[in-house]
């Protein structure tokens, strides 16, 4: 189910307030991938579905009072993020979200990168890939197993930002608000994650090895 299949904003809100049950289920399904990413980014994957469910219960109660100051999906996303943050704090971990954020900037910088010489030029010409479309990449089974393996190994912070940006399609400002990180840190972490996966695909293309 794609978000583009949903009615336009005003009609969507009115029909949901008027208890259009079929549309409600359609919206729950259509928005789940991105709402799940938001919840998983804050509380982890094990209870992300539960957090989204609880957030929807709050949405149902508050929907008649929705004032339309933001898009409905943005409002629902914030409720999911708040629910996730409350859960995170209730788990009474020894570190707060804020102190985790501080660590985000201490991640080691790309000081030396074996792809480049001391003057910053490519050591070897970057070879072209045989594959030319995302669908072809996704259809290559062994390559996807390799990408999946490396995705699980990414540092959590990098993985979360990449999930929110590239899987959930959220804007950077919204991501920074939800995860309470600075824009400059978020951009660096996002690029490191993408660059790492590019290198994984490049190596697989070059050598056939993961």
């Amino acid at each position: 189910m794609d978000t583009t299949d949903l009615p336009e904003e005003n009609e969507l809100i009115q029909r949901l307030i008027n208890h259009d049950q079929q549309l409600f289920v359609t919206v729950v399904k259509a928005w789940h991938p991105s709402l799940y990413s938001v919840a998983a980014a804050i509380v982890g994957h094990s209870i992300a579905d539960e957090v989204v469910q609880e957030a929807w219960v709050s949405v149902i109660k508050a929907l008649p009072k929705f004032e339309g100051r933001s898009a409905l999906k943005t409002w629902v996303t914030r409720i999911v993020a708040n629910e996730a943050k409350n859960r995170y704090r209730k788990k009474s971990r020894s570190v707060s979200l804020e102190s985790v954020d501080e660590n985000w900037s201490t991640d080691s910088r790309m000081v030396s990168d074996p792809r480049f010489d001391s003057s910053g030029h490519w050591n070897q010409r970057n070879p072209a890939w045989d594959i030319g479309s995302p669908d072809e990449l996704l259809a290559a089974g062994e390559l996807q197993d390799c990408v999946d393996k490396h995705l699980t190994r990414l540092p959590d912070q990098q993985k979360y930002i990449m999930e929110l940006r590239d899987s959930a399609g959220m804007g950077m400002e919204e991501i920074c608000n939800i995860l309470e990180v600075s824009s400059s840190n978020a951009r660096v972490l996002l690029h490191r994650a993408r660059d790492k996966i590019q290198q994984v695909v490049a190596k697989f293309q070059r050598t056939g090895e993961c």
Binding site: V25, P33, L138, D166, M172, R194, D195
Partner: protein, 75 residues
């Protein structure tokens, strides 16, 4: 001129169009003359597009049933 390493480090900013006009011109000039960086940029775009289509976590059916009941109760 912008080095290849610097271009690679700024590639996401360029792709996401979050770069100043001045920096953007520098990147475009570099890409015009450097085949390795042109390839890198294309490969990174492809990687991002691939990631966008991966791992779409679907809503569990049980959750949809539960939420529909809650929605009906609120009527």
């Amino acid at each position: 001129m912008l080095s290849c390493k610097h271009l690679v480090e700024q590639a996401s900013e360029y792709i996401d169009e979050e770069m100043s006009t001045g920096k953007r011109v520098q990147v475009k000039l570099h890409l015009f003359v450097c085949v390795s960086c042109r390839r890198y940029m294309k490969q990174l775009k492809l990687t991002i597009a691939m990631l966008g289509r991966k791992h779409h976590h679907q809503a569990p059916e049980e959750m949809c049933h539960h939420l529909l009941k809650e929605y009906q109760k609120a009527e």
